[in-house]
Subunit: 183 residues, 4 copies
Amino acid sequence: MKNLPSRAKKIRLFLSDVDGVLTDAGMYYSEEGDELKKFSTYDGGGFLLLKLVGIQTGILTSENTALVERRARKLRLDHVLQGYWDKTGAFHRLLETLGLTPDQVAYIGDDINDLPILRQVGIAAVVPDHCLPADFQPHYITTRKGGSGAVRDFAEWLLRLRGEYELALERYFEFIQKQHERS
Amino acid sequence: MKNLPSRAKKIRLFLSDVDGVLTDAGMYYSEEGDELKKFSTYDGGGFLLLKLVGIQTGILTSENTALVERRARKLRLDHVLQGYWDKTGAFHRLLETLGLTPDQVAYIGDDINDLPILRQVGIAAVVPDHCLPADFQPHYITTRKGGSGAVRDFAEWLLRLRGEYELALERYFEFIQKQHERS
Amino acid sequence: MKNLPSRAKKIRLFLSDVDGVLTDAGMYYSEEGDELKKFSTYDGGGFLLLKLVGIQTGILTSENTALVERRARKLRLDHVLQGYWDKTGAFHRLLETLGLTPDQVAYIGDDINDLPILRQVGIAAVVPDHCLPADFQPHYITTRKGGSGAVRDFAEWLLRLRGEYELALERYFEFIQKQHERS
Amino acid sequence: MKNLPSRAKKIRLFLSDVDGVLTDAGMYYSEEGDELKKFSTYDGGGFLLLKLVGIQTGILTSENTALVERRARKLRLDHVLQGYWDKTGAFHRLLETLGLTPDQVAYIGDDINDLPILRQVGIAAVVPDHCLPADFQPHYITTRKGGSGAVRDFAEWLLRLRGEYELALERYFEFIQKQHERS
């Protein structure tokens, strides 16, 4: 793992799974027919810090719900890929469109349908409670759990590896100021 | 417990309790009259892996709610037994219908109404926070809690005991590919 | 605390606070105006086991919500006292009505408005995450948290102290059988 | 940190962030379009104890939701500042209106948009799972997590530092009695 900083510097796209990563894998079913998922406010900050240093952000999930669409819009993600049984195929089509190679991607997942992607990307992260086979070795295991800021944790770890955490923070406060002046 | 692998190989039916096993035992009551339960996306993968090696799946609960019906449909379970005060009686009637004996069943429960079934089945598992009498000895205590993937954990443990985890994984990726081609 | 078994044997009434004991102290607010609380299915079993050995059950809370009313009905509690700022006064009026004395009551609470009652009852329990002054010494601190079966835990501890856990379990299985025959 | 008691005695205003402090940073999204946050009943007691010794209370958040407005009303907070991208600016305008200086403020936060305020106030607290840069040194890290009574914990710590916890408790029981007589 000596080459982690050089791997990190190549990253142009940050992709995350949804259930178990942006959420705690919980699926709340209501008697009246509604469904809920629990996200973390911390992950919003993670995606924003990444965008402020020029890294594209997105989600990739096999599920297809209106609530994830709304959450993604709130997070102002660049790419929202929902409803893909074949996540690996969708992943490759996205890279082709963007003209990127797998080593330019950081991906965080938690389950076996993420495995083919995790094995190909430049930086592969998993949540601590993942359901992947024991022999898979990720580049990073987040300290925060899914739905409790795992993406924020991974994003900050990646930014520090790139030596860009302080830069991202600086741009964050400029961004806040601009948002304020606009409103 | 030397005979665990031979016990595991006899299993044809995998049954789970609902509250406290597929959920965290939480019952969310709303002021407007709605009720919610929290399930885990990981358990869906557990039931699917079992089905892919030919083991039937089902749930057995004394409660009777529309939300569990919907969750069960999403999970494509073979048997959904809701509303049985006498879970043991319902269990035996199901076995009779299917022409199975208790030693061909793996069951996971968490409370005293599961006790008579747990004492009879071939493989009996409980969640770590169970409410069973201290003198009951299950074959397996899951490492994941109820509602956080206890069924997935038990299913993978059972598949590994049977030497079928890799086979199930292989069939999973074929299944994903077929779902993709169909859609 | 040598006299705990003799204190336990005097109990005729088991009372519980609601928020932080039957729930995890969480108050879920929805943007549409709804409110939720999270209860545990395990506590239902606790109240039932107590009733089966002849101990009355009830809740006492300063809040007043329809959802607690519904939860209490589901639990078939004997006494539901909601909306009492002065919980101590409500407690004494209930005892007067029932012809009981404080040493015949087991009470479980978690916050400062429970303190005067906890200081008077025969058996006083608290949840591990309580907000009571450090100098208060309860008879029992539950191992399960509020909303995760704290009442079930306290109920079973009390039944074991009275030497009635096995009796309660026996009557539970008779009760299940009767419910089945009735349905 | 020798001067903590003298810092504590100067406090006239207690301000809290919302997401991650009054909540567990969770954002529940529903398929039907609703959103939920989880608060703790314990924090209500914290704000009340502070008010009973004459400390003003308030919240300051960049988000703007009706559910936080309702929660704040229930908590009878003195100041509810929602929807401020520039929290630091809103903080200074509030101080100006009230004729207070930053050393008269106790503030609890959890994320980078709280950092400029945390660096200026008399007493700065954070939750244990905060997302602040590692080099920031708060005066207090709460033992309770956000959404599980972090504000109550900080409020009681502050009252004890001021030597006013017992006074606050005494006034609490007088307050309860008055509420009862009024109803």
